[in-house]
């Protein structure tokens, strides 16, 4: 398992670094030659290491904002990590609040502008964090992370998406990709014992499911980022990862016929009744619950959901995870994935205890990574120096998929700046409601994205 992880860490970051370099202004020159050695090294280390400079006597008031709400797959890992930190540093008065994903994006931007953000805050890497870094709102973590990098606890390649002008501004947590989850009980009803491996097979399977009265997919239109998980996967498997990366990073225009064709493929799937129409207004939690209750055969979303699926004993035995099949094999191939290391902790430059907060965030991030990985909420960004033999089968499967990855395209709304992201999401939402077709999508984005 560790060997797979070590391999995938290198693969992920090589592609991911290339992905964020141009857009976010990140430095891609941080790849360490010792990465493989670092990640396969099995030396033990104290999870709440005193090498961070934090001691049991350190006194400070620290506050953290994050998105690990009660229903979030990462909730348990946050709770466990915080409990460990509180035990290790009892004199740090640490408080935290969790907010719903999308409202958090709005809240943090407003708070950042007013310098009222918490000391430590959850953020997405690349352009999302980059916007704040450009406004000098984020505390530089070079000094804090140096010791973790030199000790091998944190492979430097994992910092690519949070490095701007050669400086590190984020503590990576876990990495995830978009997975195609399948309820095998339903698939078996239409004669499938495994997740369809080819696109033609997937379509045949969906037709059979519709004939049987099932909705093949559920997609949360109430949260547009969920629609991107479908659309981006379809685009990537139709035009290839390189082409999609080039578009997201403004190296080429949206005016790409392949993208228009991909939109048509997506909308044809909607027309054929592959998607539950009620999903148009539902949120992700409702869609996920419907999937787990057997209303849909497939669910495309982040692999952080492995934690929730594995935690549900009844459902765990029914679910399998795979990647979306290739649509145009002349341009794409299996192993081209959507995702990468995005979940990050950062420290506000306005924090009165920024130095301590930095040390605390790093130690906390390492623990969240550990517990998150063990729960199945993501693959680890930090060195695995603990027993991971009990990681659930779904997460192990995701590790295998990632280990065989050929290319990564970071989630579109993370790769783009805030201004571009909203325009992009507005068009994606219109694709789902069919207010815009493929031609309108590419011409509109080519015109409106700066």
């Amino acid at each position: 398992m560790k060997r797979i992880l070590a391999t995938l860490l290198v693969v992920v970051m090589v592609f991911s670094l290339a992905a964020c370099d141009d857009k976010g202004g990140n430095s891609s020159n941080n790849t360490s030659n010792n990465t493989t050695d670092n990640t396969t090294s099995n030396t033990t280390s104290n999870d709440t290491s005193s090498s961070t400079g934090l001691t049991a006597d350190t006194k400070a008031d620290l506050k953290m904002w994050c998105i690990a709400t009660e229903s979030d797959s990462n909730r348990k890992s946050y709770e466990n990590a915080i409990a460990d930190m509180k035990a290790a540093y009892p004199n740090v008065n640490f408080t935290w609040e969790a907010f719903e994903n999308e409202s958090y994006k709005e809240k943090i931007k407003a708070a950042m502008a007013a310098d009222e953000v918490s000391d430590i805050f959850f953020t997405w890497s690349c352009a999302f964090l980059g916007d704040f870094v450009n406004q000098n709102k984020v505390y530089c973590l070079d000094d804090v992370l140096a010791k973790y990098i030199s000790s091998g606890d944190l492979p430097e390649v994992m910092l690519g998406n949070t490095t701007y002008n050669g400086k590190h501004y984020g503590v990576p947590l876990t990495m995830n990709i978009v997975g195609l989850f399948a309820n095998m009980d339903i698939l078996k009803e239409v004669g499938y014992n495994d997740v369809p491996a080819t696109y033609d097979d997937l379509i045949k399977c969906c037709d059979a499911l519709v004939a049987k009265g099932y909705y093949p997919f559920g997609c949360a239109g109430g949260e547009t980022w969920c629609v991107t998980e479908y659309l981006e996967s379809i685009i990537e498997k139709n035009i290839g990862a390189d082409a999609l990366n080039d578009i997201f990073l403004a190296r080429s225009s949206y005016n790409n016929q392949g993208v228009a064709d991909s939109v048509k493929i997506f909308q044809d799937m909607i027309d054929k009744g592959y998607f539950d129409p009620a999903g148009l207004t539902l949120g992700n939690d409702e869609i996920k619950t419907n999937f787990m209750n057997g209303k849909y055969a497939f669910y495309m979303n982040g692999t952080w959901n492995c934690a929730d699926f594995a935690a549900n004993a009844d459902f765990y035995g029914k679910v399998k995870v795979s990647e979306f099949p290739v649509i145009d094999s002349s341009k794409s191939q299996l192993g081209q994935l959507i995702g990468g290391p995005s979940d990050t902790l950062a420290v506000a430059a306005s924090s009165k205890n920024a130095a301590i907060a930095g040390e605390y965030a790093a130690a906390l991030g390492k623990l969240i990574c550990k517990y998150g990985y063990l729960d199945g909420a993501g693959l680890p960004a930090w060195k695995v120096d603990y027993d991971d033999s009990k990681v659930n089968g779904l997460t192990k499967k995701v590790s295998e998929i990632c280990a065989a990855a050929k290319a990564y395209v970071l989630f579109g709304d993370t790769a783009m700046s805030a201004a571009d992201k909203d325009i992009y999401l507005a068009y994606v939402a219109k694709v789902y409601t069919k207010d815009v077709d493929g031609a309108g999508f590419i011409s509109g984005l080519a015109k409106d994205i700066r």
Binding site: S103, T224, A278, L280, A418, D422
Partner: protein, 305 residues
Amino acid sequence: MTKKKRKGITIFLFLLPALLLFFGILVAPIISSVYNSLYQYEGFSGDKTFVGIQNYVDLFENKAVYDFGTALKNAFILAALSVFIQLPLSLGLALMLGKGIKGERFYLSVYFMPVLISAVVIGALWSKIYNPTYGILHYFMEKLGIANLMPATGFVGDPDTALIAVFIPTIWQYVGYHMLLMYAGVKSVSPELREAAMLDGATDGQVDRYIVIPSIKQIIKVSVIFAITGSLKSYDLIKVFAGSNYNVPYNVPSLMLVRNVLGGHGGIGSAIAVMMIILCFAFAIIINQIFKERDPYGGKKHIKE
């Protein structure tokens, strides 16, 4: 210094705090919004590029991204529904309760209760009611055998029904608020006037029509202003329904404003703010003109101070 001058300075000094507040929290932000609306910039900070009136042009012309025209139309529809459905309902309730019916206090509390509940709670509640899978509305429609009348996407998901579905709770929430304003007015109408009219043979309806309603005209005016400007500024409840969906048929200017400001389009957000300010002021002036008392010969009634 003359006595007159000293008096003038004293008045000025007494007015100064109020003037500073007025300029600081009303005039200055408006000027700032107008200034910012002429620039393109990301969010709250960063470099600004002067674009003139381009933000205003984009608001109306770039329908794929902004479509301000539709948002404005929706706000006007909500304002019309508020004036022609919400306020008559409120007036009806106020007139009914103002007569001193049995359980008056109880009904007053019940009708006013939605005003006390957070709009976020109401939004979440009605979202559940409308849910096409497990919503209570769907349940009852199924029981009545008319579930097929519900769109497959649910009432909120269907462009034909979404607008009215979202506006129903918006209107429902503030019926009690306007009712309370009008109820206070109804209660202040002199009982002698009512009794005199009754002695002259007027029915309940006639008393309301010719005595009570004209007496509370100023309160109705205030309610109309609140209803219209409130509709133009409505945000919280609609935001709950919209969630993180970037393409909703019930988009309104406030929702657009917040999304654009936080989404890195500060100039567009400011332009929307300016448009909303102009509209709110314009409507307030128009309503004042409509309600201005006129003498029987059509001239404006002058009230001696």
